[in-house]
């Protein structure tokens, strides 16, 4: 599927449709396997990526996802950046609350994804788009 891809370099996937969200999941899975994450950790990070990529599509009006492997000298990991130039998020605390939604979903996308990964960083402001970076380390 994605064999032959140089996993040492960041991989970019545009997010403009439903099918792209599926592609993001597959890309994240491939890189997570390369970063030697356990099966459960792979599942967690792919699920988180699925939630955030859907947010990028639905709320951000599309954008891009960049996936790369990271190494802190002791452990390997996977780092994913979700970027869109959509309307941004006005009240971040509210958006990170379980059950809060403006899109008719379950309101678990942001808050749930944050629980599934080790590091979660979000930069956003009204009109400025949203950039979310997540990292998951191998155990």
């Amino acid at each position: 599927m994605t064999s032959g891809v140089d996993l040492g370099r960041p991989q970019t996937q545009a997010v403009g449709s439903d099918e792209d969200v599926v592609r993001v999941r597959q890309l994240v899975r491939t890189v997570a396997v390369a970063a030697k994450l356990s099966l459960v950790d792979q599942t967690k990070v792919v699920t988180a990526a699925s939630e955030l990529a859907r947010n990028t599509l639905v709320y951000g009006g599309g954008g891009s996802v960049e996936v790369s492997t990271v190494d802190n000298g002791r452990k390997q990991g996977i780092k994913i950046l979700f970027a869109d130039s959509g309307p941004g998020i006005a009240d971040l605390n509210l958006a990170l609350t379980d059950g809060y939604t403006t899109g008719g979903g379950l309101g678990l996308g942001l808050s749930g994804a944050r629980r599934l990964v080790d590091e979660f960083d979000i930069q956003t402001a009204p009109g400025q788009g949203t950039r979310i970076t997540i990292t998951k380390w191998s155990r």
């Binding site: 439903d18 099918e19 969200v21 599926v22 999941r25 597959q26 899975r29 099966l39 459960v40 792979q42 599942t43 967690k44 792919v46 699920t47 699925s50 939630e51 859907r54 379980d98 979903g105 379950l106 678990l108 996308g109 808050s111 749930g112 994804a113 629980r115 599934l116």
Partner: protein, 137 residues
């Protein structure tokens, strides 16, 4: 767009999800199932997710909705075959899949539906008692 096939086995509709579904495919499945329940008059729906390596909140919501819709249409829904890693992730995600019945595999799912129908006094549906002890693979 891919569509997920729906099989009819006796009084049960069996859906075995084999692809990494896009959101559109998931929504289409939800609609197809409602139509098939009405068209066939089946009283049980089994959704086999053995092949799914993740279930995110969108698919989780789809499963809940299917369960609710089929209940309205007098059919019992059982989700079977969830992988351990998927279950652990769903718990962490905070998704409880309220109102969904689950079973380890298709066979146990069928027993569950049979027991449920028997409880409701629906005698036409009975797989007999012997299926229970033969479930080990």
């Amino acid at each position: 767009m891919e569509r997920v096939p729906i099989l009819k086995i006796g009084d049960i509709l069996l859906v075995s999800i084999q692809v990494d579904m896009s959101d559109q495919t998931a929504v289409a499945l939800q609609e197809d199932l409602a139509e098939r329940i009405v068209a066939t008059g089946c009283h049980g729906v089994i959704i086999d997710i053995t092949a799914l390596d993740i279930v995110d909140s969108f698919v989780g919501r789809m499963l809940s909705t299917i369960a609710s819709i089929s209940r309205v249409l007098d059919a019992e829904t059982v989700v079977v075959g969830m992988r351990p890693a998927v279950a652990i992730t769903l718990v962490e995600l905070g998704l409880s899949l309220n109102g969904i019945r689950t079973a380890l595999n298709v066979e146990r799912g069928m027993e569950l539906i049979a027991a449920e129908r028997a409880d409701q006094g629906d005698d036409e549906f009975d797989y007999g008692p012997d299926t229970e002890l033969t479930a080990s693979p």
